[in-house]
């Protein structure tokens, strides 16, 4: 019974969040995003694949360079490690400073 009540509360909160966000799809901001997306798709050179990079060649036209397959499977996880790890390390440092300060209140007062 407690678990069911918890599930109902969690779903209700999620529904409230969704109902709060949904009206934004009709906003001017949403129209700007759609317009920019349309322009980006329509512009030349925007149809390049995500695993290819374009660089200019000596003959004048763009030459496509393939990213190695192995990197394609590794780079997303590197991105995750960096985007999670850096804030986590900053938080560790901040908490360590906070705990040291709380442990030595007289010293920090003198400083």
């Amino acid at each position: 019974m407690k678990t069911l009540r918890a599930i109902i509360i969690l779903v209700a909160v999620a529904a409230a969040i969704i109902l709060a966000v949904r009206p934004f799809q009709d906003s001017d901001w949403a129209n700007v995003v759609r317009k920019e997306s349309k322009e980006h798709k329509a512009s030349p050179g925007s149809t390049k694949k995500s695993d290819e990079a374009t660089e200019s060649s000596d003959t004048g036209g763009p030459k496509r360079r393939k990213i190695p397959n192995g990197l394609r499977y590794v780079l997303p996880f590197v991105k995750e490690a960096v985007m999670m790890g850096v804030p986590a390390l900053i938080t560790f440092g901040f908490l360590a400073l906070l705990r040291r300060r709380n442990r030595n209140p007289t010293q920090s007062a003198i400083e």
Binding site: T3, A6, I7, S37, E80, G85, F92
Partner: protein
């Protein structure tokens, strides 16, 4: 006589599964969109179980919000709430722009660039939010891992 599995051990294994599934879900460039969407459907119940296992803490802190609470606990609470909001937006926007799973089940989905952009943005925001969430609970994670993972491995090695 059966020995009951400690609650902290269940929590640890569940949290490891949650983190692993999140890391996999967040790499659609590596897994491809269809696997990304199907793993997301599996991720949602794991996330809900994580919240249910910690429901006691959520209720205690919510009820004690306007009484005397430690600064770290209060920060933790609001950070977790922010994480829940962003996760909900990420999941909902992902469902609305489904390219493989829902169309495969017969639902006709029109991809709206607004929801696609919101999905990318909320998903990217989840990384630092979860990184900080892990850092805030690091002591518990290390303690539980030492007790249930490394200690049990050492015990098995001694028995062998």
């Amino acid at each position: 006589m059966t020995r009951k599995t400690p609650r902290s051990k269940v929590k640890l294994y569940l949290d490891c599964l949650l983190l692993a599934s999140f890391l996999l879900v967040s790499a659609p460039q590596a897994t491809g969109i269809p696997i990304h969407e199907w793993i997301s459907f599996a991720f949602i119940p794991i996330f809900m179980v994580h919240l249910l296992i910690n429901w006691g803490w959520i209720v205690r802190v919510t009820l004690g919000l306007f009484r005397k609470l430690g600064g770290e606990t209060r920060f933790n609470y609001f950070w977790n709430l922010l994480l829940y909001v962003v996760m909900t937006i990420s999941v909902y926007s992902g469902v609305v722009v489904s390219e493989a799973a829902l169309p495969g089940m017969g639902f006709k989905i029109e991809i709206d660039p607004f929801w696609s952009t919101l999905h990318n943005a909320s998903s990217n925001l989840l990384f630092p939010l979860i990184g900080i969430h892990l850092a805030l609970h690091w002591q518990w994670i290390v303690g539980a891992a030492r007790k249930h993972l490394f200690k049990s491995a050492a015990t098995e090695a001694d028995a062998a």
